[in-house]
Structures are given as C-alpha cells and as structure tokens.
C-alpha cells in the first residue's frame, strides 16, 4: 500500500511567502497523479515536501501507513526524477542506475545485474558503459527513470519529466511514460505546467494556484466541469469562454441575448454571474438562431482540421459598428469558416454551459448530455 495522504500541509518560507497553504490531498495507491498549475503556484514545493527535500512548516505527510513528515528524504522510500535528470556525469549509465542500490549496500555483483536488468526493460541495454554526456535527451530521461525504478520505491516523484525534451520527442515520451507507469503500478506524482500533458497522462489532477489546490479530479471532470473560473481558464488548449451575465426576469442576459438559466441553479434577479462555455461546445451558424449569441467575426485562425473563430458579441438591437464589449471564441470545422466581418450566431450545446458565482461553479452535475441533441437552428452533424 503506497497511497499518499497530506493533512493540512503548510510551508512558509522565512520571508513570509506561503508556498503551501494547509493542503489536504489523498492520492490513491498506484495512481498516476498530476500537480498542475502556473509557475509559482507551489506544485514543485509540494513535490519536494513529499520527497523530504523541503521540511513542512505544519501538517503531516503519510506514505502508505507511515507518517513520514519527520523522516529525512533517504528514508521515505521514494524516488525522484529531477527536471534535468541529475545523472552523475562521472559515472557510467550502469553505475548511475545502480547507485540507489549502492547506498542500500547491495553487493557489487547483485547491483550490476539489477542495473542491467532494469536497463534492458527500458531498452538501454547497449548503453550501459556510456557516460551521460554521450546520451541523447530521450536516453538520459530513460536512464533517470531506470535509476528511480531500480530500487523499487513505493512512490515515484517526477519534476516536469518532459519539459527538457524537444516537442516531437515529448509526445513519444508521454506515451512511453504512461505505459510504463501502468505496467509498474507504482504510485506516481508528477509536476507539470502543461495542461495538455496533465490531461493526457494523469489518472487524476490537482490544479494549484498560490499555494492552494483549486480542484482535484479526473481529466474529464476538470475539463468538463472546472470548479472555478481559474481552472476554467487554465485547462484546455483553447481557453473556456467566460462572459459576464446578469439575471433578469429569471433568465440570463449575456451580451444582450437572453439565455435560459441551466437546470437546478438557484438565482436571484439582478445578480451578476459568469457564464462559461468552451469553444468546442459552441456551434457557429450564419443564420439567426434562438438561444444563440450574436456577434461579428473578427479573427479566423486556421488550426488544420478546424478553425478558431473569434467574435465580438453584439446584441441584435445594437447599432452596427458599435464598440464591442465581450468576445467569444468558437471552434468551427473545416470548410465552414466564416469571413472576418460577417455576422454569426454561436449556440451552446445543451448541458455544456456552466455558471459561476463569484468564481465558483454553481451548475450542478447534469445527467450525461445526449450527444445527438442539437438546436433547431440548422446546425449540422
């Protein structure tokens, strides 16, 4: 059992910066868990605190059944792979991989064998006598992983494992990493600032900001139902559209258009909310559509098999050429792109709109959206 439990974990630096603010977190045994957030959010500090390289100012860390809060890093039975891999330059690949075993006082023959075995598993068999300086970036990463694996720790900690690789290699390494973790079944926590990477790799993600965890959930949860506007804006290759809305007569007024309030949400007249919907969940049409937002196309970005279209929202009764207030983006399949200057309507798909009050999500969990449902305004498959 190597679940990780954090209780009220706090870290305050001598200059007063609260890097971790009373965090509670449970990571299940065998889970591939991501710590995601912008720089400065505390994710690396959290990783290092779990490793023991930083001492917590308050709270507790449990690995498995043990309370490891007071234990030094070498006794927590964790292995950490650093962003720069930290392969000892003066040792061969074999000695590098065998190093943890050397510390554990395994005899020379046994640890050489173990190192060779681990290296083979990762396809490094031919490189055993090379020095790190003679390896490519991808090979170095695998050696670092082999070294972490060789001592069979309870937990893997990976600090930005893919950021040192160039873009093409990164995708390969991503798949490799996911497979490896699945095969080994070891609890793995990794830090990244790349939300696509987190979504692709992790079983569950913790999105952090300013030393706090803003949401914990599966990639689907975090993508479909971000718990607050911060997560909504952070997750997704194209950011979620977040538009000011006002409640009037039981309906939402979004940039002049009246939209129904999503089911199950209690609202009071006159209050100001934030209306959120992803560009991928909007349908663009050149025909007027009820329940849709009207706007003027400003920018069309071609992204290959689809385009990202930005519209400045203009209610129907606004004079033409009026200064735009809000803008939204919508994903349009290829062949259907409008031209800049055209007027268009974007219609949200049912069950995909979210409402935020003071930044927090208020739309309750809906019944799974029926994918085939479309508005009557002629949007096609």
């Amino acid at each position: 059992m190597s679940a990780i439990t954090l209780r009220e974990l706090t870290k305050v630096y001598p200059n007063g910066v609260r890097a971790l603010d009373a965090l509670d977190l449970e990571i299940a045994d065998g889970e591939f868990f991501a710590l995601l957030g912008p720089s400065g959010c505390g994710k690396t500090t959290l990783l290092r605190t779990i490793a023991g390289l930083e001492t917590a100012s308050g709270g507790r860390v449990h690995i498995g059944e043990r309370d490891v809060t007071a234990l030094p890093p070498g006794r927590r039975d964790v292995a950490m792979v650093f962003q720069d891999y930290a392969l000892f330059p003066h040792m061969t690949v074999q000695d590098n991989i065998a190093y943890p075993l050397r510390i554990k006082k395994v005899d020379r023959r046994a640890r050489a064998d173990k190192a060779a075995e681990t290296a083979d598993e990762l396809g490094l068999g031919a490189l055993l006598q090379r020095r790190p300086g003679q390896l490519s970036g991808g090979q170095q990463q695998r050696v670092a992983l082999a070294r972490a694996m060789a001592c069979h720790p309870q937990v893997f900690l990976l600090d930005e494992p893919l950021s040192n690789l160039d873009a093409r290699l990164r995708l390969e390494a991503r798949t490799f990493l996911k497979r490896l973790q699945r095969e080994l079944g070891v609890t793995t926590v990794f830090v990244t600032h790349d939300q696509a990477e987190a979504l692709a790799l992790a079983d569950r993600i913790a999105v952090m900001e300013g030393g706090r965890i803003r949401q914990v959930g599966t990639p689907t949860e975090v993508f479909r139902r971000p718990a607050n506007t911060f997560v909504a804006g952070f997750i997704g290759s194209t950011p979620m559209n977040l538009v000011d809305a006002e409640v009037r007569d039981g309906e939402l007024v979004v940039a002049g258009t009246r939209l129904p309030v999503p089911e199950g949400v209690q609202v009071t007249d006159g209050e100001k909310l934030t209306y959120g919907v992803r560009p991928e969940y909007l349908d663009h049409t050149a025909e007027p559509a009820s329940g849709g937002l009207r706007g003027r196309v400003v920018v069309v970005e071609n992204l290959g098999s689809f385009s990202l279209v930005s519209l400045d929202l203009q209610p129907a009764d606004a004079p033409a050429g009026d200064t735009p207030g809000t803008s939204v983006q919508v994903v349009v399949p290829e062949g259907r792109e409008p031209a800049p200057g055209d007027t268009g309507w974007v219609v949200p798909r049912p069950g995909r709109s979210l409402l935020y009050r003071d930044g927090e999500l208020v739309t309750p969990e809906a019944t799974p959206a029926v994918p085939a449902a479309r508005t009557a305004a002629g949007a096609e498959q």
């Binding site: 650093f82 930290a86 000892f88 003066h90 190093y99």
Partner: protein, 294 residues
C-alpha cells in the same frame, strides 16, 4: 556593356584620393607592430639566454654565450650537500600546502555555497580584501613573533601553515565559484536515494568539482614553489631550506659563486613549475583571464 569597359581603365589611371595614404599607413602600422613584438620578444628572452646555455657549458661564465656542450655540470649538483635536498624540501612544502589549502578550501567553499550561513557574502569579500592587504611582507614581524610563540620557528610545518593561511581566502573564493556553478540536483538526487552527506561529498561532489580542485592545487603549488620570504624568515639552517632560499644563498655566499652549480640548480629548480604550467595549460586550456568570463 561597352561603356563600362571604357570607363574601367580610366579609373585605374589615378588612384582615388585618400586611398594611397591609408594603404601606406596600414603597411607602416603592420611593420611597427612586428618591430614592437620583436623587441618585446628580445626583451623577454634576453635574461633567459643564460639559463638555456650556461648549464650545458663546459666553462660557464656570467655572460650568456654559445656553450661548449656538456652534461657534466649536473654532477656539481650532487657534490653540493644541500642542492638536491632543498628541491625535496620545496616539493614537501608545495605539496603540503597544496593538500591543506585544497582540502580546507573545498570544505569551506562547499559549506558557503550550499548553506545559508549568516553574513556569508560580507565574509567572503572581507576575506578577499584582507588577503590582498595583509601580505607576508607587511606582517613579517608579527608572523615571526607568532611562529616563535607557537614553537613553529625552524619548522617546515610552520611554513606550510602560514602559507596556507595566506592562500586560503582566494582559494575559497575560486572554489565557491565552481561549486555555485554545479547544479544542486545531483546532490538532492543522491539525498533522496538515501545517501548521507558524507557519501554525497565523496561520491558526487568531489568528482564533479575535480577541475576546480586541480586548478586551486596547481595555483597553490606554483605560489609556494617560488616563495622566498616565509621560509627565509622562519627556517634556520640549510637542511630544511627549500630551493628558493638555497638558490639565494648560493649566489650571496661569500667568494666566487660556482657557476656550474648555480646554472644547473637554476634549471632544475625552474623546470617543474614550467612543465606543470605547460601541462595544465594544454590540458585545461588554462587561459587564466584574471577573473574575466569569456
């Protein structure tokens, strides 16, 4: 096209104004440069001529002259009871100081680089300033007194300790720079694997900063090898004296200096540092920049 060729010959008749003087100036400056460099070469080579010729001359004189070649002069070294032993003394002093300086400076530099000791920066710059201002010459009186009180007069250990004290601030400064440039992830990685601080130092830190340690070691040896004042002050009698002091006594002792001895001894005494320098500069590209980053 034809018009172009017609004007071309006309252009070469008279050189454009201003180009001739520039070309001449250019040539003159080049000649001037070469002359200057030859003069410089001559200036720096001249005193060395004697060192290159006299040891191999059957009848060496003060004047540098073409030698009547022989290797017999080196026997004179063996006749003098103190010549060779002084070289050994020099080796002892240089090696001892280098070991002491490298070890202590490495420990101190590592601690200063990795651990936030209060007042660290002020300490470093203060030490550096101190070591430039407080030289052996300026404090020869109290050093002598101090050595006397600590019973270190006429002790080679005393010389080693005093020389180390003078070299340490700069050595710490240089090594700290090296340590700072070494990423901490190596040490942290080893720490997570369970290595103790001592193991980390042995397995990781020392091998990685070896070039820095070598630099400081070589620099210390070069400094001590030629140091005259401290052994001259502190050591009595020629048995313990290093080559620097013996060299001096050889030509200030009364009577006619034995040029055979002097010349061969000078050569033998100079050779190790010269060779070491050549070796280090070819291996590590030792272009010492006087502190400037290239």
């Amino acid at each position: 096209m034809s018009t172009a060729t017609r004007t071309a010959p006309a252009r070469t008749d008279r050189p454009a104004p201003g180009t001739a003087p520039v070309a001449v100036r250019h040539v003159l400056s080049r000649i001037g440069r070469y002359v200057f460099l030859c003069a410089v070469l001559g200036f720096f080579a001249l005193p060395l001529l004697w060192l290159a010729t006299a040891p191999f001359d059957e009848t060496p004189t003060i004047t540098a002259s073409l030698p009547r070649f022989t290797l017999d002069n080196f026997r004179a070294l063996l006749d003098n009871p103190y010549a060779l032993s002084s070289l050994l003394n020099s080796v002892y002093l240089a090696a001892g100081t280098a070991v002491l300086v490298v070890t202590f400076a490495a420990l101190a530099a590592y601690a200063l680089s990795r651990v936030r000791v209060p007042g660290r920066d002020a300490l470093l710059y203060g030490l550096l300033l101190l070591s430039s201002i407080v030289t052996g010459t300026a404090t020869m009186v109290p050093l002598f007194e101090l050595a006397f009180r600590l019973n270190l007069i006429d002790s080679r250990l005393g010389v080693i300790l005093i020389l180390s004290g003078g070299l340490l601030p700069a050595a710490i400064f240089i090594l700290k720079d090296f340590m700072d440039a070494t990423p901490t992830s190596y040490e942290e990685s080893a720490r997570v694997f369970g290595a103790s601080p001592l193991q980390i130092m042995r397995h990781i830190v020392v091998p990685v900063v070896r070039p820095g340690l070598a630099t400081v070691g070589v620099w210390a040896v070069a400094n001590v090898w030629g140091n005259f004042l401290v052994p001259f002050l502190l050591l009595r009698g020629p048995e313990k004296a290093p080559a620097a002091v013996i060299m001096y006594t050889l030509y200030t002792e009364g009577g006619q200096a034995d040029l055979r001895l002097l010349s061969t001894f000078s050569l033998l005494y100079s050779l190790p540092v010269a060779l070491m320098f050549v070796f280090v500069s070819s291996r590590y590209g030792f272009r010492f920049h006087g502190g400037i980053k290239r």
